[in-house]
Every structure is written in C-alpha cells, then in structure tokens.
Amino acid sequence: MNKKRSFLRTAAAYPHMVWSVLFIVVPLLFVLYYALTVENPDGSFSFSFANITALGSESYFPVFIRSICFAVVATVICLLLAYPLAYALTQCKVSSQRMLIMLVMLPMWMNLLIRTYSWMNILETNGVINNFLASIGLPRVQLLGNAAAVILGMVYNFLPYMVLPIYTVMSKIDRRYIEAAADLGCNGWQTMLRVILPLSASGVISGITMVFVPSVSTFYISQKMGNGRFEMIGDTIERQFMSNYDYHMGATLSLVLMVLIIICLAVMNRFGEEDGGVLV
C-alpha cells in the first residue's frame, strides 16, 4: 500500500519534470550557449567571452541602470498603493472581501497588450482626458511619451501582483495578536508598525519580487507608453532578436538580466529570513 502510494507520487511529478526540462532547462542552456559563443565568418560558432566584454564597451550600461531605476520607482509606488489597500480589504466583511479582491484581479483577465493600448487611447493628445480638457476650454497636454507615463503603465499592469500576496498574508494574521497589542497599550500606529507590519512582511517581500522582476524586464509598456523614447533592457533584447538577428548579444543581455534578478531575489530572501523565514 505504502509502496504504491510513493510510486504514484513520483509518477505524478514526471509530467512536470519533463515539462521543466524541455521548456525551462534546455532553453536556459541555449541562452548560455549563445551568450558564450560568437559566430565565425564561415557560420560556425566558437567559444568566447567577447559578448560579455562587449557589454562594457558599448552603451548598454545606462540601459540597465535606467531599467532598474524605473522598476524601483514602479515597485515602490505599487507598494505604497497596495499596502493600505490590502489592509483596508482585510477590514471589510468577508463576503465583500471576495467581491473587492475580484475587482482587483479584474484587469488581469485582459491581456497586457490590450490594457496598455487602452491606456494609450486614454492619454493620447486626442484621447479621453484631453478631449475632456478641450471641452472645458483648457489646452491639450502631451501625456504620453514621458517617464511618468511609463511608470503609470507599469504600476497599473503590475499592481495586482502586489496587492494579492500582501492581502493573503494579512488576512491570515490572527486577530488576537492585534487585540493583545491593544490590551498591552499599543495605539493604532504602534499596532501597525510593531505587529501588523512584521507579520505581513513576507507578503510584502513576495509582492516586491513579483512586481520588480516583470518591471525590470518589461519591453512592451515602455515602447507604447513612452513612445519608444525610453529604451529599457527588454526593448534592447527584443531588438537583438527581432531585427538585428544578433542572437549572441541578445542572449548575453538576457543572461546578465537573469543574473541581476537572481541577485535581487537572493538579497530579498535574506531579508525575508531575518524577518521570520518565509518563502518568496
């Protein structure tokens, strides 16, 4: 009996293992292979670090910095918006909580491209906002094509990824802790800072990673909302593959981006462990 169950258990994992090897491990090896090779004039590949050293000499460094800065700002804005929202949600009746969480997730049922395109229509010089301004006699303003528009696009698209983990962790906090804090003389702010915040830190950390990682590698939002004027690392990688056919440089950039993200995750995990050991 016991033996059979353990067989079933391993068998259940096989499809997933096959899947991961085929679609995660093998592609990653390809990325590594392309990043560490260069194409010879006769079409053959040879091992070389030339791509990685080229990163330093060409002007990719500012692009990395730019992507990281945009992602940091977007993540912090998401956090500042999502944390109070998640807290407010947990204070609602359970039945209305479900409804409200569904509203938070609603935009995610639509495709990211469509959401971004809708924002373009709203912000365009002849879009909804500008038409309203014009109808009350104000001049039209250029809302697209600046850094704020790119940030807006990122925040809008990734906000649910911040709200959901924070809300999940917060709603599981035992209310007795809060009552105990009040009994021991904590006022509202002290309860928030010294009880709720540490207990919900794991949600905050997983929210931050879930927003930061897609924002740092985003490529569509910056092109559309920034009118193609703010080049992110994702845009650069896309161009290497789609129009320059430089698979080696594209793979190198992707590899560097992945390493950066892994470093960020490792740092975040360290913080997470200190604060009581939670998984991201």
Binding site: C69, G145, N227, G228, R239, S243
Partner: protein
C-alpha cells in the same frame, strides 16, 4: 504487473500528441500561405474571398481538394525568423524586395517555373521582369513612401515651388510653424535611415544613389548624425501605431506607404498625402516559394491564379483583390482594366479622384483621368449585367509605369552585405540607446534608496537601544 500497465498507459498518454502530429489524418492537401497582415481580400459573404475562390477553382480544374492555410506576419524580419527556424511549413511567402534578395543569396527560394505561372509574361509589368530577382519571385504589389500630414498644414509644408520636403520631419517647416512633438517616424532602422539618406543624397546634388545602399561607413555616420538631430522634435518612433495616431489626430506628420494612406484617410478625412522632392523609396512585395515547400507545384498554381491569368473569372479576382488592398498593382491586365480604374477613383466604393495620382505617380494621370471618368459615367447608366465591349468612348492606352526620372526620384533598397548591415544596425542601436532624459526617475530612485538606508540604520539603532533593557 499493475504498475507496469499504469506506466505504459502514462507513456502512451505522454506520446499521444507526438503521434498525432506525425500522422496526418486528413486527406485534404494543405497549402500554407504566409502573407502580410491585411494584404488579401478575405471577406465573407458576398464579398471576395480569394482563398475560397482558389479552393473552388482548384477542385474544378484538377479534381482534387486543396485547403489554403493562411497566416500573416507584420515585418520581413519576423517572416525571416520563422523561415530560418525551418520547422514551419510554408509554401508561399510574400517578402519585400530586399528580403527577396537576401533569401536568394541564402539559397532559400526555388527558381519559379514559368510554364506553371504561365500568366506571368503577359501580366507583370516589364520593369519587374527585368529585375535580377525576377526568376525567383512574382511581384504582388508595389508602392512608394510618402508624407502623410494633417490638412491644417496644407499651406505650411510646401515651399515656394509648392514642393514638400522630408525636412519637415525635422521640424523644419517652410513657414516657420513649430511641429515638435507632432512628428512621427519609423521604428525600424532601414526605413528611418532611408529618409535621412534621401535628404543627404538630394542635398549632395548627386543624381545617382550615393547613400541609400552605400557600403561606406562615413555615409552611414552622416545619416546617423542627421537622425540624432531629429530625435528631440519627434513625438514617437512607431510602426503600426501610426494608424491610430494619424487617424485620431494625435500626430500631424508621418511618413508612410501610399496604399496605407487610403486606410487612414477613410477614417480621418483631414489627412493629405505628398511625395517629397528629395525622392522616395520604391518597394515591391513579391510572391516566392521556399525550397522547403512540399507543394511547390500547387504553390505556383496559386501564384498563377492570383495573377488572374487562368481561364474563367480569375482576372476579376485579381482586380477585386487589387482594389481591396489599395496598393499599386504590378499587373498590367489589372491596371489597364477600365473597371479597375473606375472603381479605384470612385468616391464611395474606391479611394477618390486622387487615388491614381498617388498610387501611380509616374504615369500620366492628367490625361488618363478624364477617360476614366467618362467611362465611370457611362457605367453608371448601364444596368447590372453590362458588357464592357459595348462602351464606345475612348479606351486609354496609357502606361501607368512610365518612369519619368527627371521629376520623380526613387530609390530601391538593396540587401546590404553583412558587414554594412552590422554597422548600420550598430548605428541604429546607438541612436535608440540614447534615451530621452529621465532625470526625475533617477532622482526618485536615489531618494528611495536613501530612505531605505535610513530606515535600515534607524532599525538597527533602535534594536540595539532596546537590547539594553532585556
């Protein structure tokens, strides 16, 4: 025992998709056509559906069923990437001229059999038949790049000789209007560089092409400098978004293809079109058959059908398709057809009076137009099943392709050699990497990092302070 049966079942389950994809169960032959988006009349109902017509015609002629599997791409590069990975089945592709050259060079196309594409000789305009690429491809459409602008600029964009210049995309407007933030340009290297190169070539006074297909790095640097100057007055680098932006009036000037101008003007009637004096890009998209195709004969029959050279109603289909696409047609049988000309200039069904002079800028449209109008008037009076041979008016014999090199300069993009291509891409890369200033974001990031550090320090200090009490 049970265990073995179970794992066998599991194995079968896992292999099922593999088995399915190997064995082709359907008896119907499939023809895979890979074309640009919105580039063939595929309407339902009473309107023309080219592929359904072909399927019906094919079954009638050859007694064999065939199914056209039609898919679309949005750039030559995308198509090339899909062809290169080799796994996809494609029988007919429609790349642009420089990509055709590239595919020929890389030995990816078959030499076409003009016994199968029998209509070729009598339908395709001579100019195309003389091209070096001719044995490998059959032109489908062609066209020119022009300047699309808002009617409010009608008086501003033109100089004293009433000529427009590509320089308006650099916010250099003859009457001094400021258009910065209202200008769009292409978000792909060849087209963006092209415009700068037309200007440079024109201003250098050279008659021949010194810049567009140059292999000289210094000439690419010049174009790169010029594009750098353009950056600040641009609203955006765009490709397909151009439709939305021009149709909605979000931008006032943009370069785009003549055929697509009609799509935009049908939404926003305030748009106008002009060919700048520096000359422009001449392009064609041509049907080719890849070497990997398993249905090469059928593919070539399909091409022949699209030319309208086969018996029956095939010419009507070629005409209907050309009218639907709205690009210039390289098919002489189509462009000399009075119905085609009358349909194109029709205000309601077609693209208006200006259609012919925009699509065929090299032809003598001034002489042609009265004849077309006379025919259109006659046709309006006939009942539905009129016969074109009853028409007694003058039938035009004007060649729409007469290249008049003196007042209309065109450049054709040739496939660049790898070394030049790499250099050009590098320049484009450098242009794109230098982004618009985003100082606010950097400052904000600095503040955020600072605040985080402060919190960390405060946290550690408070912790230490508290530890004293334990």
């Amino acid at each position: 025992m049970k265990k073995r049966v179970f794992s066998l079942l599991l194995l079968c389950f896992l292999l099922l998709p593999l088995l399915c994809s190997c064995a082709d169960f359907s008896p119907v032959k499939k023809l895979y056509v890979y074309n640009w988006g919105e580039y063939m009349s595929l309407e339902g109902g009473d309107d023309l559906h080219v592929n359904h017509e072909f399927e019906a015609w094919y079954e009638e002629t050859y007694g064999e069923r065939i199914e056209v599997v039609y898919s679309v791409f949005s750039s030559n590069e995308e198509m090339y990437a899909k062809m290169q990975n080799g796994s996809s089945k494609i029988d007919v592709i429609v790349p642009s001229e420089y990509m055709v050259e590239r595919l020929i060079k890389e030995d990816m196309l078959i030499k076409l059999d003009f016994d199968i594409i029998a209509a070729y000789e009598n339908t395709i305009e001579e100019r195309f038949q003389e091209m070096a690429t001719a044995p490998y491809c059959v032109p489908y459409t062609y066209g020119y790049l022009g300047l699309i602008y808002d009617a409010s600029l009608d008086n501003s964009l033109f100089d004293e000789n009433s000529e427009a210049s590509w320089r308006v995309l650099w916010n250099e407007i003859p009457d001094g209007t400021d258009l910065s933030g209202q200008i769009l340009t292409f978000n792909n290297s060849r087209d963006a560089f092209g415009i700068a190169q037309f200007i440079l070539n024109h201003e250098s006074g050279a008659k021949e092409d010194l810049y567009v297909n140059s292999t000289d790095h210094a000439r690419w640097d010049e174009a790169y400098e010029l594009l750098g100057q353009q950056k600040d007055c641009l609203q955006a680098y765009v490709m397909d978004e151009i439709y939305n932006k021009m149709e909605g009036g979000a931008a006032l000037v943009a370069p785009y293809y003549a055929g697509d101008y009609f799509t935009m003007v049908s939404v926003n009637e305030n748009l106008r079109f002009a060919y700048p004096k520096e000359g422009t890009n001449f392009f064609y998209d041509a049907m080719c058959v890849p070497k990997t195709s398993k249905n090469q004969i059928e593919a070539q029959r399909y091409i022949n059908f699209l030319l309208g050279g086969t018996e029956g109603e095939s010419l009507d289909i070629a005409i209907g398709n050309a009218e639907w696409i709205g690009y210039s047609s390289p098919n002489v049988k189509v462009t000399t057809n009075l119905d085609y000309l009358a349909d194109m200039t029709d205000d309601e069904e077609g693209y208006g009076e200006e259609a012919l002079s925009i699509l065929y800028p090299e032809g003598d449209i001034d002489t042609l137009l009265p004849m077309v109008n006379a025919y259109a008037d006659w046709r309006a009076e006939q009942d539905e099943d009129y016969d074109i041979s009853d028409y007694e008016g003058e039938i035009p014999t004007i060649d729409l392709f007469t290249a008049d090199a003196d007042d209309f300069t065109t450049y054709i993009y040739q496939n660049l050699d790898n070394e030049t291509l790499e250099y050009a891409n590098g320049r484009w890369e450098a242009l794109k990497l230098s982004s618009a200033p985003a100082g606010g974001i950097y400052a904000l990031t600095g503040v955020i990092v600072g605040v985080l550090l402060l919190i960390l320090v405060a946290y550690i200090l408070v912790r230490r302070y508290r530890q004293k009490f334990y």
